[in-house]
Symmetry: C2
Subunit: 308 residues, 2 copies
């Protein structure tokens, strides 16, 4: 199977109550590709960086099976940079700096050898860029998933709706679902959003888990109760990457398999928050991942007996 | 098996974005007893009302198997009255009126025929009153569970801690757990709170489900994603009542059975919020309850396969 990720590959500088980083590697595309690599041994990425981006990280992606033919390196330009500071509760953050740099004029060119892509994951980017990727693929992938954020709802809602109407799966958080639908109840929000296009909706609720709306069925995946969230940056992208990597690797997008994929994504996301940036993600062993998935299983498993 | 509930039997007046009630029947003890009656065909209650309390409701309790020998009816006095108004998000509310009335000098007298109580559920009341019930039972019940609220943490923390040190199970919500422990992380909060006495802790998270901490194990129960919460009043007490009723009916307080009991309590609570006050609770059929429990099962059930 073939999986293509489109998303930012970037520098982040992060401040949490536990510490502060200099410029470290970040970006939705990075987290998605690293995360999906736990299931997909071969995949592709369309992204753009400046020539200040370390070859080391590109090598890491390649070593994890990511074909980087679609990673544009702009000579004399600078990589996208984001800096943010998390509040004490870790549920909200302030953006300190956003330097678009190479992302400002990002033209997502699809290499010829990517044209047979069967699974497409559109990380958070402008809806116009996301849409042009769908349009440039000569054959529509089997499944197209997209992430987005409140920013695009505020400044490019019509463009966002156009792109949403072309995808199968939308992955957003609860706050974004409420903003997009103008409904507080997530069940009502899901109805409104799915009427905009995506047949399948995943609402991420951070420490409260995630909801999958699929046909007339709902699945509720827990989040692992954690003693400490060290740095939430990239957790949502890691979730999406694990989800889409699992779907693509198993080539099965039935409801039952999407449940498994959400657990896989949740397990990877629970690692992501344990260290700054991608630090934890790049060191997880197969055994650790399996143990973590087992923790998710025992967290919600029960056998019901209703007394007479 | 024998279950004793201690808790307020009261009048409430409720305002939600969907409507407004006059004085209707409420009180933690009422919700707990009604809810546990789905599993316990015989139970007891210790509570106090004024002579303004309708005999009708007492008859309803009796018809559901509640022995009311411990329900004191104070001549010439008035029943506890609470009035509150929910905000639009239904997650917060303002108390408009609290008239303690008969609760002010409530002396929880235990009828002789209650002395063999095996399961004790202490609904939210002053920690002194809760403690005196434990002390007045000549033989300690097999399992003692208690609810409490932030109010007692603020005005009677030492008394609360004394009572907590005598119980097996504490059932509180996430906000209360954070306030009591001074920890934001619920995993850390659970450690702090369990060091205060209760070996077993249940943290209710409203629309986000509930967490059970038991030994070194954790269980996460979902809440049913609802289109509408009509009136959240009593949902927490209904949860506790369903939980304790299930435990007492099955006479099993193992971790595995507590998981089932939490699902039972969650299912009943999901009905409670569908109408004002106890309206929905008193009309649920056995079939409806079983169907609702099935919904909870399918909501979180998955079979995991980790790709090679």
């Amino acid at each position: 199977m073939s999986l293509l990720t489109v998303g930012s590959v970037a520098f982040d500088a992060i401040e949490t109550p536990f510490g502060k980083t200099d410029k470290i590697i970040g970006g939705a595309g990075t987290y998605i590709a690293l995360s999906s690599s736990f299931f997909m041994k071969e995949q592709r990425i369309v992204a753009v960086v400046g020539d200040d981006f370390p070859q080391e990280m590109i090598d890491t992606l390649v070593s994890r099976g990511v074909n980087t033919d679609g990673l544009q390196i702009k000579k004399g330009e600078k990589t996208f940079f984001w800096s943010g500071k998390y509040h004490n509760d870790m549920n909200s953050r302030d953006t300190l700096v956003t330097e678009l740099n190479v992302l400002e004029h990002f033209d997502p060119i699809i290499p010829e050898n990517y044209q047979d892509t069967e699974y497409l994951m559109l990380g958070n980017l402008s809806p116009q860029v996301q849409r042009s990727v769908i349009e440039r693929l000569e054959k529509r992938p089997k499944l197209v998933a997209m992430d987005t954020m409140n920013f695009w709802m505020e400044i490019a809602l019509d463009e966002l709706k156009k792109t949403m109407s072309m995808v199968d799966v939308l992955i957003i958080n609860d706050e974004e679902a409420r903003q997009l639908s103008k409904e507080y109840s997530l069940v009502k929000a899901a109805k409104v959003i799915r009427a905009m296009g995506p047949k399948i909706l995943i609402i991420k609720k951070g420490e409260h888990g995630a909801l999958l709306f699929h046909g007339d069925k709902v699945f509720f995946a827990p989040a692992l109760p954690l003693e400490e969230v060290f740095d939430p940056t990239g957790a949502g992208d890691t979730f999406a990457g694990g989800f889409m990597g699992y779907i693509a690797a198993t080539d099965d997008y039935s409801f039952d398999n999407m449940k498994r994929a959400i657990i896989a994504g949740s397990a990877l996301a629970s690692f992501c928050v344990e260290k700054f940036g991608t630090d934890r993600l790049t060191e997880i062993s197969k055994k650790e991942l399996e143990d973590r998935i087992d923790q998710f299983i025992s967290l919600t498993a029960f056998e019901m007996v209703v007394p007479a």
